[in-house]
Symmetry: C2
Subunit: 193 residues, 2 copies
DNA sequence: GTTTTAACATACCGATCGGTACACAAAAAA
DNA sequence: TTTTTTGTGTACCGATCGGTATGTTAAAAC
């Protein structure tokens, strides 16, 4: 053993995640990273590899925490309809209070990197698929409880809701009127019958 | 008057549009632009200003042609339901045949630039609002003809469809199964009742 | 034909990019 | 205490970035 690390690997990774989330891959420079992470370049490279590897590690950290947060949020409501309403409205509130609006790190990456890098095409697709499964389980719970019609196609419905969630998240980046956003959520939630 | 331009301004602007559409703002370099547009740097600067101005001009060209194309597509079907189905399915087909999938230039810009540049926040928002109006007019046509229920909230519904369209376009960048995409479209179109 | 005007191509600018060589500092191993 | 190992900070690498100065060429104006 030699000298011990002076920085907390989780903390500096989190700082990198915040930065990539906010600015994307290309627009984030190594200088941005060193100042935000509070460590020097060689420390980044020895701990996380090059810029792309660091980005991937940060994104994986994001998706895994985002997935478990999503599961938790949807479980904290008895009513499935209320659960989805609260979930969507929370997305809106966060986006309006964030300035600049960061949106979803995974969605940002789908747009910026997925079309040109198969690794991120797969990573982002699998995250969305995973979220769809969480949605589906929630819908199935609603069917079980009798809140939703028994002939509901849980899988197809969950996929449509994921698509709407993505669209909502992206749309919010242009800061549309609240009424636009509220209308779309209201209409979309009528799918839960 | 001095020497006349040797290049077609519309053609080279179109080339720039294709490139920005495919790679985004940051990832497109001036060298990429000169080689794709077939003209030298000073010609770009004299004809279109700096990189950001050229990008904005290219995006405006895109949104205006995209809007009129959308209106045309929705008008070519008697049935409003069929019009929207064909419209959504066309988006899917184009995305799957494009490699890499370019998605929508305006949506790409919403994600990359809108959060950090008010000019593009406004420009992209207004394009989406304009598309929403086109959707709304189409829905109102369906109400008039009796195809859609008379108590349909055309505005709210059009906004929800825009959100789904954005979500679909973004989701396609991760190349999900056709079944995922078909399911979401099928469910979303049940909103047209 | 001469002058004037503007587009052309080349070659270059300083700044910044991602990435690393190297010397020094610190802590474990001997 | 000495040796070995590994992290840290500095200073630098070549490449590329967006943008421009400059000299040349071509066409309109006279």
């Amino acid at each position: 053993m030699g000298r011990v690390r002076e920085f907390d690997e989780e903390k500096v990774l989190d700082a990198a995640m915040q930065l990539f989330w906010e600015k994307g891959y290309e627009a984030t420079s190594l200088s941005d990273l060193t100042s935000r992470m509070g460590i020097q370049r060689p420390s980044i490279y020895s701990a996380f590899g090059d810029k792309k590897e660091l980005f991937e590690t940060a994104l994986r950290k994001y998706t895994s925490s985002r997935a478990s947060e999503t599961r938790t949020r949807l479980q904290t409501h008895q009513s499935v309809r209320e659960a989805f309403r609260a979930f969507f409205e929370n997305v809106v509130d966060e986006e309006y209070s964030d300035s600049p609006s960061r949106g979803c790190f995974c969605i940002n990456t789908m747009v910026e990197l997925a079309p040109h890098d198969e690794k991120f095409e797969i990573l982002t697709r699998e995250h969305q698929m995973y979220l769809a499964v969480i949605f589906q389980e929630t819908i199935e719970r609603g069917i079980q409880s009798g809140e939703l019609a028994s002939d509901t196609n849980a899988k197809a419905l969950s996929q449509a809701l994921i698509v709407s969630l993505i669209g909502l998240t992206v749309m919010l980046k242009s800061r549309p009127d609240r009424s636009f956003v509220n209308n779309s959520i209201e209409v979309t939630l009528t799918l839960l019958r």
